[in-house]
């Protein structure tokens, strides 16, 4: 096979990538991984090193992945509120296993039914998440927040 022409902007973690590592995954069982995959591509494009765990991921998977990859942040996605129960106690678990320095973000359609964003934010902040993005129209606000929060991380 011939080498591809010139540098190609792919979602693969490029060999020389050096941005902060970010672990992402979906709690719950949704088999539709399109958004998750686009998020991974977006993270790479925005200068991060993404590690996508896929669907049906629990708290231990996330924390263990942060250990293995040296990730600075973990993005927990939930679709259709399925993950609400799985998100409780995230902050406490991360602190208990020596990962208190890891940023915890929650995003997606985080709860069932109609609840105000402020309510949802309070709920998930209570679980130990640093930032909460309930029904975000776009990934942009999250990427911008990540960049700000991780601005002091150098590789």
């Amino acid at each position: 096979m011939d080498a591809p022409p010139g540098p190609v902007a792919g979602p693969d973690i490029a060999d020389d990538a050096c941005g902060p590592g970010v672990v992402i995954g979906v709690v719950g069982h949704d088999i539709h991984v399109v958004a998750n995959r686009i998020l991974t591509i977006g993270l790479a494009e925005e200068g991060f090193r993404p590690y996508n765990l896929g669907t049906s991921i629990d708290i231990v998977d996330f924390a263990d992945a942060a250990w293995e990859t040296g990730a600075r942040a973990v993005l927990v996605a939930s679709i259709n509120g399925e993950g609400e129960g799985a998100c409780a106690g995230f902050g406490a678990h991360f602190a208990a296993v020596g990962l208190a320095d890891v940023l915890l973000y929650a995003g997606g359609n985080l709860v069932m039914g109609d609840r105000s964003s402020a309510d949802v934010e309070r709920l998930f902040t209570g679980y130990g998440f640093h930032r909460v993005f309930h029904q975000p129209p776009n990934f942009r606000p999250m990427f911008d927040a990540l960049k700000r929060d991780l601005s002091d991380v150098r590789c």
Binding site: M1, G10, I38, G42, E46, T55
Partner: protein, 467 residues
């Protein structure tokens, strides 16, 4: 190409007996399907329909409801509306071989008066009762599911007089399952293919169809075509003599036409090369499989345009969507209305001439070359069998389906939509395209859009491009 080593399954009867015994069915035996199919009028055979001359593509809706009475009502409504093929769509518990849960939910739903299943639990209903669904129906019935291990499902379907089985080891595993091992799915589909080859009458073989839309999310033409060709060759190897390759509306008219051409050309070439020139290949076009507009008036436009496209690409059959697609499982009336609407559109141009344009020729040329390159790679794997070669190519990322949830799918191929909404390969991952082909893909993608958008933003928009 490959040694005859692993081509055959060994003694299929032995395994069939075991699959049937494990189902607990006392009525089904090794010859039930064969006997019934031989007694069935030839009009019920998909392969016979495909051989007939016709002026327009056949029309096939989708549809599966849990209860027998509901499914009977759906079947008759679709038949009356003029569907040329009647669908039987299977619920997701049965697709995952969880027959006990399917049976339980069927019963519970009946007791509670509302549906707890998203399709017809064929194994739970059994073949005898399912035959009765089709009393008075004189057109073929097609099994639509999404099952990695469809051995029992196919046994029951064939015994029920269903003469078209959709699916395949790749197309029903990579987009539908997260962790069902691909090698085993291929082995189980080998069983289904061989079963289909064995039980049909000589003059009316059982028809197999592959599912080309895959994840229906920016799948590049080369991936679609390669998956179709692999499943065609695997089926032909087991003795299947009537097969349809398929694909979903790409969003680009030029690519739709080009894919149809490449599919037909490469299918003929590879079948001849593999020593199966007698296999009859049909072409199936799926109406837009991506997100649908919620507004009915817009959904109708999409269905109409999609119907016209199926005619223009020269499809033998079109699989029809409904105006309630964005909402959920369509109601019977809505499904029947879609069949009538598509029929109306197709009858507008009974004799469409093949289309051509510079852009179509360009796409045809590029896709054809890419497909040759990848298929050469598949067929030259140093393995003892085609099945092992296909499996190896999935694991190594030579066959790579964008946005597939399966853990064994490489997920490294990246695509984008370029001018004319054509799907372009941005980064090939491990798909073995030549430098010239990748350069051409880049050129056709053109300069980056002047809105300064990033790939992720375009992808996010693309998911709802027609919604």
């Amino acid at each position: 190409m490959f040694g005859a080593d692993d081509r055959c399954l060994g003694d299929l009867d032995d395994e069939r007996a075991q699959v049937i015994r494990a189902s607990g069915s006392t009525e089904l035996d090794l010859s039930t399907a064969r006997r019934y199919l031989h007694s069935l009028p030839r009009g019920r055979f998909a392969s016979v329909a495909y051989r007939r001359q016709r002026e327009r593509p056949y029309i096939q809706p989708r549809g599966g409801l849990p209860g027998w009475e509901q499914q009977r009502a759906l079947t008759l409504a679709l038949h009356r509306a003029g569907a040329d093929f009647i669908p039987l769509t299977i619920d997701s518990h049965t697709r995952h071989n969880d027959y006990a849960t399917a049976a339980k939910l069927l019963e519970a739903g009946h007791a509670e008066g509302h549906d707890l299943l998203n399709g017809y639990p064929l194994v739970s209903h059994g073949f005898a009762r399912t035959r009765e669904l089709y009393e008075g129906v004189d057109v073929p019935v097609s099994l639509r599911h999404g099952t990695p291990d469809a051995r029992l499902l196919a046994e029951v379907a064939l015994a029920a007089g269903i003469t078209e089985i959709e699916g395949g080891g790749l197309c029903y595993t990579l987009p539908y399952a997260k962790s069902y091992p691909v090698d085993r799915a291929l082995v189980h589909w080998q069983y289904v293919d061989r079963l289909c080859a064995l039980v049909g009458p000589a003059d009316a073989p059982i028809h197999r169809e592959s599912f080309g839309p895959l994840t229906a999310t920016l799948v590049p033409p080369v991936t679609t075509v390669v998956v179709q060709l692999c499943e065609l060759l695997l089926a032909a190897e087991q003795g299947v003599r009537s097969f349809a390759v398929s694909y979903g509306q790409t969003g680009s008219f030029e690519q739709d036409v080009a894919v149809a051409r490449v599919l037909r050309r490469q299918a003929a070439r590879l079948l001849a090369h593999a020593g199966h020139p007698d296999v009859r290949v049909g072409l199936v076009y799926h109406q837009w499989m991506g997100a649908f507009p919620t507004e009915p008036s817009l959904a109708w436009q999409l269905i109409a345009v999609s119907a016209a496209l199926s005619r223009l690409v020269g499809a033998d059959k079109v699989v029809v969507k409904t105006p309630e697609e964005a909402i959920g499982i369509p109601r019977i009336e809505s499904n029947a209305a879609a069949v009538r609407a598509v029929r109306y559109v197709l009858d507008m141009f009974p004799d469409a001439a093949p289309l051509s344009s510079e852009a179509i020729e360009e796409e045809d040329d590029l896709i054809d070359g890419e497909v040759r390159e990848v298929m050469d790679h598949v067929l030259n794997q140093p393995t003892g069998s085609l099945l092992a070669a296909v499996h190896r190519c999935v694991v190594s990322g030579v066959i790579d389906v964008p946005f597939a949830p399966h853990q064994q799918n490489a997920g490294r191929l990246v695509t984008d939509r370029g001018p004319g909404r054509r799907i372009r390969i941005l980064s090939p991952g491990a798909v073995p395209l030549t430098t010239a082909q990748l350069r051409r893909e880049r050129e056709l993608l053109g300069a980056r859009p002047d809105d300064g958008s990033l790939l992720w933003e375009r992808l996010l928009r693309d998911v709802r491009i027609l919604a």
